[in-house]
Subunit: 366 residues, 4 copies
Amino acid sequence: MTKPHAPLYYPDYLQLDRLLDCQHLESADHGEIAHDEMLFIITHQAYELWFKQILWELDAVRALFKKQAVAEKAVGRAVSHLIRIVEIQRVIIGQIDVLETMTPLDFLDFRDYLIPASGFQSLQFRLLENKLGIRPAQRLSIDKTPYEARFAERDRVALKISEQEPSMFDLLDNWLGRTPFLHFGTFDFWDEYRQAVDVMLAKDRRLIEENPMFTPEKRAHQLKMLTATEAQFDALFDPDKYERLRQDGSFRLSHQALQAALLINLYRDEPILYLPFRLLSLLMDIDENFTKWRYRHALMVLRMIGRKIGTGGSSGHDYLRQTAEQHRVFTDLFSLSTFFIPRSALPDLPPHVRAAMGFQFSESSS
Amino acid sequence: MTKPHAPLYYPDYLQLDRLLDCQHLESADHGEIAHDEMLFIITHQAYELWFKQILWELDAVRALFKKQAVAEKAVGRAVSHLIRIVEIQRVIIGQIDVLETMTPLDFLDFRDYLIPASGFQSLQFRLLENKLGIRPAQRLSIDKTPYEARFAERDRVALKISEQEPSMFDLLDNWLGRTPFLHFGTFDFWDEYRQAVDVMLAKDRRLIEENPMFTPEKRAHQLKMLTATEAQFDALFDPDKYERLRQDGSFRLSHQALQAALLINLYRDEPILYLPFRLLSLLMDIDENFTKWRYRHALMVLRMIGRKIGTGGSSGHDYLRQTAEQHRVFTDLFSLSTFFIPRSALPDLPPHVRAAMGFQFSESSS
Amino acid sequence: MTKPHAPLYYPDYLQLDRLLDCQHLESADHGEIAHDEMLFIITHQAYELWFKQILWELDAVRALFKKQAVAEKAVGRAVSHLIRIVEIQRVIIGQIDVLETMTPLDFLDFRDYLIPASGFQSLQFRLLENKLGIRPAQRLSIDKTPYEARFAERDRVALKISEQEPSMFDLLDNWLGRTPFLHFGTFDFWDEYRQAVDVMLAKDRRLIEENPMFTPEKRAHQLKMLTATEAQFDALFDPDKYERLRQDGSFRLSHQALQAALLINLYRDEPILYLPFRLLSLLMDIDENFTKWRYRHALMVLRMIGRKIGTGGSSGHDYLRQTAEQHRVFTDLFSLSTFFIPRSALPDLPPHVRAAMGFQFSESSS
Amino acid sequence: MTKPHAPLYYPDYLQLDRLLDCQHLESADHGEIAHDEMLFIITHQAYELWFKQILWELDAVRALFKKQAVAEKAVGRAVSHLIRIVEIQRVIIGQIDVLETMTPLDFLDFRDYLIPASGFQSLQFRLLENKLGIRPAQRLSIDKTPYEARFAERDRVALKISEQEPSMFDLLDNWLGRTPFLHFGTFDFWDEYRQAVDVMLAKDRRLIEENPMFTPEKRAHQLKMLTATEAQFDALFDPDKYERLRQDGSFRLSHQALQAALLINLYRDEPILYLPFRLLSLLMDIDENFTKWRYRHALMVLRMIGRKIGTGGSSGHDYLRQTAEQHRVFTDLFSLSTFFIPRSALPDLPPHVRAAMGFQFSESSS
């Protein structure tokens, strides 16, 4: 207990008088209440409440990563915020099951009253996308108009600001690029990794060439696949090629940041890398969960209005299904697994690196 | 499209300006924002939105059942409403996972500011309980004060009204009691069922007495169990005994209604009983889901504040755990399965009953 | 209790000795146990157990619908089977979360040992697809080889048989086509529906043309959209056009069956149509859930192996993502909502039809 | 790719021939297949598969903690194993929804054939309980016979061994007791914490005594509650009292281990404590999830067979409901929150402790 305060009443604390008065049925204005419009409103309001919470958490993470130097503690706290976002996403994906209890015929009872309002106009969701790191150029356009055209003036301002702030992607890119362990004393991660890859690929080639069980066709096929793999690694190791891949959108992280993300994944068992590894995994979870959410939404829309044009004037199903593929942010982290090498082939960390990655103090050392 | 109306804007339709302005952090007033208080508020607000929706659906079902005669169509519509309630319950149970991302230490950052507010004071949840059919006398008391003592005056009025209206339980009881098929022409369900039970129990007794593999102890044990089963059926068949069981709270439905519920379960494959059977099942689902929700809540509270007294002054964990057992409504429907008899032992319906339970028109008849 | 039998022991009943001895780690044969291979095996075995159960339910439904005439009771039973399939699908979609606790690096520890085995070779899943109604021609091919080429001879036989049996789709198509209510005495559903559509479209056109708030551009746009809608209905009403759309794959149900499906949806509140409506909804749920499952799987594969070729030699992510779109069965039921008209515009059913769709006996009539 | 091996076939790898041949319906032997018996078998087999996986993970964690000194890396790995167990628990809880699609009447079709087999006889689940740390004395007895009496001889041996091995609880207790930070140089955590508690309680007392808004009754009530809180802390600080509480079962961890668990919770933001904190949280999750699972199971049994005696001869619902309360292992970790003090009241860590809890190397230090 701190200082005395007036006794708090739960309904007042939650402002339920106002909160539960925000549901106005358009159908009532048109003369007949459409029972299911209440569900439509409340489900979308529940989404918006959760979006507010996700933004609250995401802004907290971004604030931590905006610092010049991000302390280990801060990574721990960021991880907690991201875990919460993932749990919230589980809930909002589950909400689609509730909305699907409304049948298409029930929706028809009030659908026309909503024109041209559309979930597309969820300001918070667009802010969320921008703050995560979706770039305007990457957005799927509808009827060739920019996405902000569908918003009111005051909302367009907020959108513009969110586009200009450093996104979670930008902050991650910077933070990864500063990782001290890429070059640590005499240890050069990139060099070591590259040698390990070369050894692994050479061994694979030998195995294919010498395998007595292969038919010539089989051998040729395997070698073709190996050559494709070699080409992927080549692009990774050649900074110029990598830069070109960045230009064409195949990669987005800086070369340095990509290396750091790879190091974190490959040596994630070292204590100092545990939290960074969790952080990367959670950002992938979040990306994946929004993809799931969009895709589930696309399926629901298909069911609700078939291939008709949505209330917002766009063909809802196709738009949502395509954003599920296109509105993604941390694709590089997914691509990374292409470059993983088995633990048995990983270069050993020299003792001074291993020491720096651990605690001075540990039960096993004491 | 109906009559012309001004174009609707999604944020306006959902009144997001107001909705997203209902989150006021008490901790901010005390000088330092507790990050997790936002989660606490938003989770509880999401609960309240969903409670509003559940009430919306439950009131719709009650309106249908308040009619003197409930048309078959109405049962179909009631079933749809109840299915939706079940889906909403899945979501609100899932929300507990989100709230559990708040650790006890984080909760301590603002917990004291909330005293004595408590989730106990959710008016909508209490209305929901009353409208389902929880009776004031059945409520677990806290500190020996009636539950409404914790509410503001205006809310006490609403609670009192909800206690006096016919609850879902009352309406179900009446509706079941009116079932025409208990006595249909020359067919007397209760008589037939009773004979079938007698035959079944006699056969069981013979099997036990004559089973050559039983040791005397085993036989004695089996006979004792059979005698207990016979006693249960006796109480069911003797209206006076049943009435006494109703008085002491072992049963709540009228004898007539209980018989109807049994008939519906045993002959649920007859077309006319399909929807009534679904209705009974869904009421059980809803009862069970609130039990799950309370129990999950109890576990969360245990984790959050240990065995400490909750912000509302009650020992949260124990209170919630006990309401999970005690605040149940449709327990009779659960007890019913005690009286089921295998399909092979069920009396056949005479043709005139079977005909009345089906459609005049069916593919197989045509 | 029936006839005496030897006491059953739970581990024997479930054959746990055998069941829990089916997990052989390939990595153990290669010298070092990969801890996560156990998870890989067990998750896939759990899938296969559930596939067996889904087949069990689906075969039961198909058996019911193979009958010359499907009694109302049978529809009720089919609905129960389908509800169970939907619940199982919820579980298997949830299992992906478990599999995702395996990281790509952990998978690398044993991935190569599995080549060229692949989930593609799940015989039960392919049988399931065939029995639902996926046609060989519709299947996404890999490397231009037919899907059965990846299976052992004995399994190819099973696949071939399943292709030739009437699928759930075929049985549904037949059953819908036999619906008696399309032409019932003097009532012709298709005629009535068509007139209602004409009235509705004419009214829409008038509203657009006369709306004083429309700019000329807005009006032109609205009229263009209306014309598109009219074209969709035209194709529906013209049997020749419809047949062409069937040839090109836009529709798959017979014209008669499609009409019946529409009737069931539009008049689903009539008692006799309740179960048929549930049946159609559940088939959509099942279709949608497999789509979700495939898509979730595609996302997991992306995460696990990036854009690499899967153990089966196919580019796993793309293959799975495309099957999510392409391996669908009941797309017509989803398209139906395009042709729904608001309840207020629906033709009233004449009394003799309404009577035939209800029970002779109902509380409200008695 | 490593050494050449014969091409693997998915159905062979998973031993599907055997796995899918382990479902033998007892009802078939009795003359008529009970359709739902397949579901009953497969659901329980899926449970057993997942139990095997949970044991696999739990054994891995126990192996890590059996070492004399547990390296930080090992804690990280243990956390990954536990996360997986939690995800598996989500799935097995979800499976209950599938089993609930079987109605009581359907269960009656084969229930008697199973007597006296019972889920109680799941050897793996009992092993799991023992390996987590449920003690024989703590087990709820049925009919006053020891739990192992229901098992076959060979299984009793396995149970006995599992009782004698160090359980997860024992290993945790030891590991916590060895925490170096309780006394670290001049820093004595227990001393500091105790002083902080004293200050906090004194302040609370003053606030109550001086609050001008309190009526005498209110003040008396508050003081009574404060006294109760003080008594709880007294027992914590007095080793003799604590030992007595251990004897009577109120606590189970050693005094030293409890202190360490408290330290980990209160200073969880320090890098070296992050993983230990996650570990404790996950053990609580696992405990809580088994409680949820048992409780859900209890509800299902109530619905399925009412208050009847289960196939195993025990009153299933009551037994399961009580084990949900009684078969818990990490209750001390839940009780801990009773002793948390707000961050603002926490003693600051001296620099040498803080340094030892961090990395030598961190972005912010470099």
